[in-house]
């Protein structure tokens, strides 16, 4: 019988595996609904270990939205570690959910969220353990519909054979619309079966169904065209965009894990999208336009979430949190509200800007000022113009001087290596910057106990960015430059000991690059790697470059292409890219001209403060930038009575602010789309 708990069979295996707490479920605010009462049943997966997957906001948001529907049930599953995988196979136990330990194969839909391409092999493990055929073409009415989402799904072609459908963009409304279609389909007795359901979803523009499109290749290996093979499906499936984030204040009750996870805090997304225009940043490109949550909604989400979870730290999430139009007021208001309650606030992403130090000071009023993180990304001024990260050395020195003078002891600097047009000198300039940072710190603080950590990641070109045409640096080049830099830092007698240096070898980045810009032919590589034992490719103890190289040689070279062809080869303007038929809203001509501007070292300003530069997203998607300020402030929370003293604040007290979705929340004077905030909120309310 479907929907039964597998826990009695699983339990005897748990004493034999590492960290059995990963498989228990039972998190605070998790839900188990009766199987028989649900008409549409979703299993949501984050394809990595539990401690990495549990904090994922995307999964938590969809889990809550779906479970709020009376006739819908949603449960979660994560990748099982290799020790349990072995035992599950030995005992014939399938992939299970952590909520009610039900078999994943029993659900109607399996939604998989890909933040990174390195989770693809884990998808195959889960499908195989679930008894779901790896290839979508081999599935029938008994199997769940497998739907991919998340940022990596903006180029889903490498996994096109393994998934039935792909959701592009924001999932909040999309999952409900997909649910509506599935509900109607099941209620009507599944007319036309699985194929018809997928076609219906595709024709409505809800999802991209890879099997509805054919890919033709040229003799030289490049793509000739991607064309629909069914009538009525869109030529270019488009991404979903949620307007009015105040109407979607999720997660309302964050999951509170029993196990230790990678983020031991609650997160509140304060805005979505970013128009800073960093040319390497896929997240910033595909999540446009900027949509802010108002200060009231953020205040309410923090209060409710803390009361429901007992977390002691709140992270205000976004791609560049200090850019929120009311961040100063928000920081002060929250710091006031939670003063003396042992609740700490953090801003995970900060720009190089003295204002950010002020914010960080506000958030650490009574806490330790240990470390601040900034991301100049490029070592030389020239390279920072190429990537459009507009930070001068003076800015950086001024910012860190402020930080050190105000009691911060350590600064962490993030950089990338292998950026387009990069030379050895650009990378060596990182050592010079770090030296200036230490000198400035010593001057500003008056003592020598100052530290700076330089952390470097390899650059991986991604789809839907101006760098989508760029040649990725080979791992030999990346590793050689990082060695030069390491020697330069270590050889600096004046400051070398004050600078920490962290980097990873360049090889995993090459595979990430293959998967990020690969086409459908790369699917065979993924499958071969998986059959050869490839699992958890994001974990250095599991990742094997040789295994990937071998699989590329076996699967790609007979087709006249190769690992290098997909990674270190620069593409020209006319080449059909594997994701060109997927509409992120970005105008391809704009992306190309921005790529050319990058090569010329020309900068581009943020459209929130300067005129629109025609990236194409707003007109293509019918969306608008939504930013404040609203001019409102956060009032102190009022305690609701005994037993609350010293607690994290009472959400339902009389002092709680207006509910979410305050209709007049988003004025946008002077910015693009200034005049229509009323119309936009009306749209959102109607949807």
């Amino acid at each position: 019988m479907s929907g039964q708990s597998l826990f009695p069979r699983l339990e005897p295996l748990l004493p034999r595996v590492r960290k059995p707490v990963r498989y228990l479920g039972g998190e605070g605010n998790s839900q188990v609904k009766p199987w028989a009462d649900a008409l549409v049943r979703w299993c949501l997966m984050y394809p990595d270990a539990y401690e990495v997957g549990l904090p994922n906001q995307g999964v938590q948001i969809l889990y809550e939205i779906l479970n709020e529907q009376p006739d819908v049930l949603a449960e979660r599953t994560y990748s099982v570690w290799s020790d349990l995988e072995e035992l599950l196979r030995e005992h014939g136990i399938p992939q299970f959910t952590v909520d009610a330990h039900r078999a994943v194969g029993d659900f109607d839909l399996l939604g998989v969220s890909f933040s990174t391409e390195l989770g693809y092999t884990n998808l195959l493990t889960a499908l195989d353990l679930a008894g779901i055929p790896l290839h979508a073409a081999d599935r029938d009415e008994r199997h769940p519909v497998v739907i991919a989402g998340g940022h990596a799904a903006f180029n889903p072609e490498p996994v096109a054979a393994f998934v039935d459908a792909v959701v592009l963009g924001d999932g909040e409304q999309a999952v409900l619309e997909i649910t509506d279609v599935v509900r109607a389909f099941k209620t009507a007795g599944r007319p036309g079966g699985r194929a018809q359901l997928l076609l219906r979803l595709a024709r409505r523009g809800l999802v991209y169904v890879p099997s509805c499109y054919d890919v033709d290749y040229r003799p030289d290996g490049r793509i000739r065209a991607v064309t629909p093979n069914r009538p009525g499906v869109p030529a270019r499936p488009a991404k979903h965009t949620v307007s009015n984030l105040d109407a979607w204040p999720y997660p309302k009750a964050p999951l509170v894990p029993l196990a230790e996870t990678v983020h031991e805090r609650m997160s509140v997304e304060i805005f979505r999208g970013c128009t800073r225009g960093c040319r390497f940043c896929q997240a910033g490109m595909i999540t446009r336009p900027v949509r802010e949550r108002s200060i009231d909604t953020v205040g309410e989400m923090v209060a409710r979430g803390l009361a429901a979870s007992g977390f002691t730290e709140v992270g205000l999430l976004s791609l560049s949190s200090a850019d929120h139009s009311e961040i100063g007021e928000m920081a002060k208001g929250l710091a006031d509200r939670y003063e003396g309650t042992h609740t700490s606030l953090s801003l995970p992403s900060t720009r190089v800007d003295a204002f950010n130090v002020t914010l960080a000071n506000e958030f650490s009023r009574n806490g330790r000022r240990s470390g601040l993180t900034f991301a100049p990304e490029g070592g030389s001024e020239r390279l920072r113009r190429v990537i459009n990260k507009m930070v001068s050395e003076e800015d950086l020195v001024r910012t860190v001087s402020t930080a050190y003078a105000q009691g911060w002891r350590q600064v962490k600097l993030y950089f990338m290596c292998g950026l387009p047009t990069e030379t050895d000198e650009d990378v060596l300039a990182i050592a010079g910057l770090a030296r200036e940072v230490i000198r400035a710190g010593r001057r500003a603080s008056g003592h020598r106990d100052i530290r700076c950590t330089v952390s470097i990641g390899g650059f991986v070109p991604k789809a839907h960015t101006p760098f989508q045409w760029a040649a990725q640096a080979s791992h030999e080049v990346t590793d050689a430059r990082l060695r030069l830099l390491r020697d330069a830092i270590r050889g600096d007698r004046e400051v070398g000991r004050a600078i920490g240096f962290r980097y990873h070898d360049g090889r995993p980045g090459v595979i990430e690059g293959l998967l990020a810009r690969g086409d459908r032919r790369v699917g065979a590589v993924i499958e071969r790697v998986w059959r050869d034992g490839g699992r958890f490719d994001g974990w250095s103890e599991h990742f094997s470059f040789e295994r990937w190289e071998k699989a590329c040689a076996a699967e790609l070279e007979p087709l006249g292409v190769s690992l290098d062809w997909f990674t270190t080869r620069e593409r020209d303007e006319r080449e059909v890219l594997p994701w060109d038929h997927l509409d992120s809203g970005l105008d391809r001509d704009w992306l190309w001209s921005d790529w050319q501007e990058a090569l010329r070292g020309a900068e581009l300003d943020d459209c929130r403060w300067t005129p629109c530069y025609d990236c194409g997203v707003c007109p293509a998607m019918g969306t608008q930038t939504q930013i404040g300020p609203t001019g409102r402030t956060l009032l102190p929370l009022v305690s609701t009575g005994p037993g609350r003293t010293g607690g994290p604040g009472a959400p339902d007290g009389p002092g709680a602010p207006d509910g979410p979705g305050a209709p007049d929340g988003l004025g946008n004077p002077g910015g693009p789309g200034a005049s229509d905030s009323a119309g936009r909120t009306a749209d959102a309310a109607a949807s």
Partner: protein, 253 residues
């Protein structure tokens, strides 16, 4: 000049309560760190007025007693909470129990006695279910073990491999039968360093008599406290008594 925390020092401790709680069912797979984390969050949700340590990263003042190992269930885990405001132990216990996930259950809650909690606990009573082990086999193994003066086992600790004796810690060891194919090891052990855990006792039975349970054993701590002359352990939340049974120590107001 290093920064110092601004503002007044944290409020003083005005009361201490001791909580006995159980770790049951699937939550027996929680490690001590998992239990501690879950407790801290539940205390906040329950609005318990905890006292905090001073300094830049204040922590709620919670004192843990040696925890049951990951995978072992327990009816007798103990923790002491330092409060910044007075609370009725019963009401506090109920609020905390409601905030904890099912499976971490408050069994009792009392004002702390004057004697430190750690001094009230020197032994544990374990009830270890051994599915697939015939009681006769276990009884024979227990006899062999009890006949020895010293049974060394090896365990990997965070300091590397460590060899230590199990036998001297065993105060009482009895074989009981659930049925013909499920034996129960009923045993009282002294708290030594390192602590002799259920898996150490099973290793010892394997070393001396080759006992090898076919499926993972299910250990349950029934009680811990001061070892009494009759080989039982006294619940540390009960008022202190001297050897003549008279109440000793002071119960905090």
């Amino acid at each position: 000049m290093p920064r110092r925390p601004e503002g007044p020092p944290p409020p003083p401790v005005v009361a201490r309560v001791r909580v006995r709680f159980a770790k049951r069912g699937r939550l027996r797979f929680l490690s001590h760190r998992d239990v501690a984390r879950t407790f801290e969050r539940a205390l906040r949700r329950a609005g318990v007025p905890m006292a905090y340590s001073a300094g830049f990263s204040p922590h709620p003042r919670i004192s843990w007693l040696g925890a049951a190992p990951t995978g072992a269930a327990s009816e007798a885990e103990y923790v002491e909470l330092a409060l910044a405001e007075h609370r009725q132990p019963r009401a506090l216990g109920e609020a905390l129990d409601a905030a904890l996930p099912a499976g971490l259950d408050v069994v009792a809650c009392a004002q702390a006695a004057a004697t430190p909690l750690a001094e009230l606990v020197d032994a544990s009573h374990w009830w270890i279910r051994l599915p697939g082990v015939a009681p006769t086999a276990l009884a024979a193994a227990v006899d062999v073990l009890l006949a020895r003066d010293l049974v060394e086992v090896e365990r990997v600790t965070k300091d590397g491999h460590r060899r230590f004796d199990v036998r001297q810690a065993v105060v009482l060891m009895v074989c009981r039968a659930e049925n013909d194919t499920c034996a129960i090891l009923d045993t009282v052990v002294r708290h030594t360093t390192p602590a002799v855990r259920p898996d150490d006792m099973l290793t010892a039975l394997c070393v001396v008599a080759g006992l090898r349970p076919p499926v993972p054993p299910e250990p349950l701590r029934l009680g811990q406290g001061r070892l009494l002359a009759d080989g039982t352990v006294a619940d540390p939340l009960m008022p202190d008594r001297d050897d003549a049974g008279r109440l000793v120590g002071r119960i905090d107001a």
